[in-house]
């Protein structure tokens, strides 16, 4: 009787309060607009009238994108969820210090994030702007922050657990569910969670060939990432 009273009067409201706090905390942690978190396809471009931008996606950018696996580069802006426009500028000023001539070089790189697709949304033009000295670390930092702060409810549908399953793992999940969710984690660049889910899939179904292959591949990728992709690292 006492327990029933507690359940009705206190436990349920407490659960509601806890859920509200959790959701608002996740929303606070989300520092970018939802379009950025929900994006899967990005179009990268470089625009400047002073610089011909012969290499719109330099090799160093491609490496950043290949490592993370969250965004796919596309070559049509209408198919992209985000458009990343970057520029890198340099300016040298000369002056004198005593009898000697001194030069000072300023470097400035910036990333401007616009909403892609073929339907405009004028509520935020641009979606985000960030800058630094060199553009590659600027892009890398932005990408890392998106992955780090992405709340589960703002994650692209392709990266979410299978329909009807909770991302927290509550509920009974089959080996196939774990495999699908593990692939989602892998795509998102979260190798630890991917390895966990592939292991769970194998625990439920020890002869699950696909999970075995995925687990092996994820472990290799994790070893390479831990080794910082240096020469001699496992490939």
């Amino acid at each position: 009787m006492k327990y029933d009273f507690l359940k009705i009067r206190f436990v349920k409201p407490m659960l509601v309060v806890a859920a509200t706090i959790a959701v608002s905390a996740a929303a606070r942690a989300a520092q970018f607009r939802s379009e950025i978190y929900q994006a899967t396809n990005v179009y990268v471009m470089c625009r400047s009238v002073f610089d011909d931008c012969n290499e719109p996606i330099p090799k160093s950018f491609q490496e950043v994108f290949a490592k993370k696996n969250r965004w796919t580069l596309v070559d049509e802006p209408a198919k992209a969820d985000l458009i990343l426009v970057w520029f890198q500028e340099e300016s040298t000023t000369y002056g004198s210090r005593g009898r000697s001539l001194v030069s000072d070089t300023w470097r400035f790189g910036s990333l401007i994030v616009l909403k892609g697709g073929s339907t405009p949304d004028w509520s935020a033009v641009p979606l985000y702007v960030t800058a630094g000295k060199f553009i590659v670390p600027v892009i890398q930092e932005f990408y890392d922050e998106v992955i780090r702060t992405a709340p589960p409810f703002m994650t692209p549908s392709a990266l979410l657990p299978p329909p009807g399953k909770s991302s927290t793992g509550v509920g009974r999940m089959s080996a196939n569910d774990y495999l699908a969710r593990g692939r989602g984690w892998r795509q998102r660049g979260d190798l630890d969670n991917a390895i966990h889910d592939f292991t769970m899939a194998l625990r439920l179904k020890p002869d699950f060939e696909e999970a075995k292959i995925e687990l092996e591949s994820a472990k290799k990728a994790k070893a390479a990432a831990d080794c910082h992709y240096q020469l001699g690292c496992p490939k």
């Binding site: 179009y43 625009r47 002073f50 400035f108 033009v125 641009p126 800058a131």
Partner: protein
Amino acid sequence: MKASQTLHAAMLCGLVVFFLQVQAKDKKNRHFPDDILSAKTIVIRVNLVGGTVYEKRTKHWGPAPHHYASADELKPYIEQAHSEVEEVFTRKKRFQVVSDPAAADLVCLVIIYSPNLGEGKISGEFSHAIMVLKGGTSAHWDAVPLWMTTSIDLAHKWYTDDVALLHDHIQKAEKNNP
């Protein structure tokens, strides 16, 4: 004899390079976006990224007291930059400045990075980027900038100078393709 032949060859090479450069420049102008050339209306959007507010100097040594600008503190400076940019568009009489991007042909996005703000003035050594995007009236809309320029000339080049530069580019393109 041999020396003069070399000289002639060098002069010829120079002429060829010069000719190719002129061709390339013409080609660049020819490819100036039609969406800009045919546009009549434009919306101005100003974005101040960061910014430091300097208060009135209270002492005769060291820097004046300052702090990072809050969103509310940025508002009057955004309005100020907006009116400065609008003044250039009005002066040049090429586009009509409107307020609704959905009904405009173009959107001019002005991004000003970390300026110094104080006593109602934008100052300091800041960088800026100016983009021209398609407006809502475009038949095939996408967010790819049609034109863009950037500057880190440390206060030697004001953002309004680059808005004027856009007009110069349009004028040149129209001159080449009447």
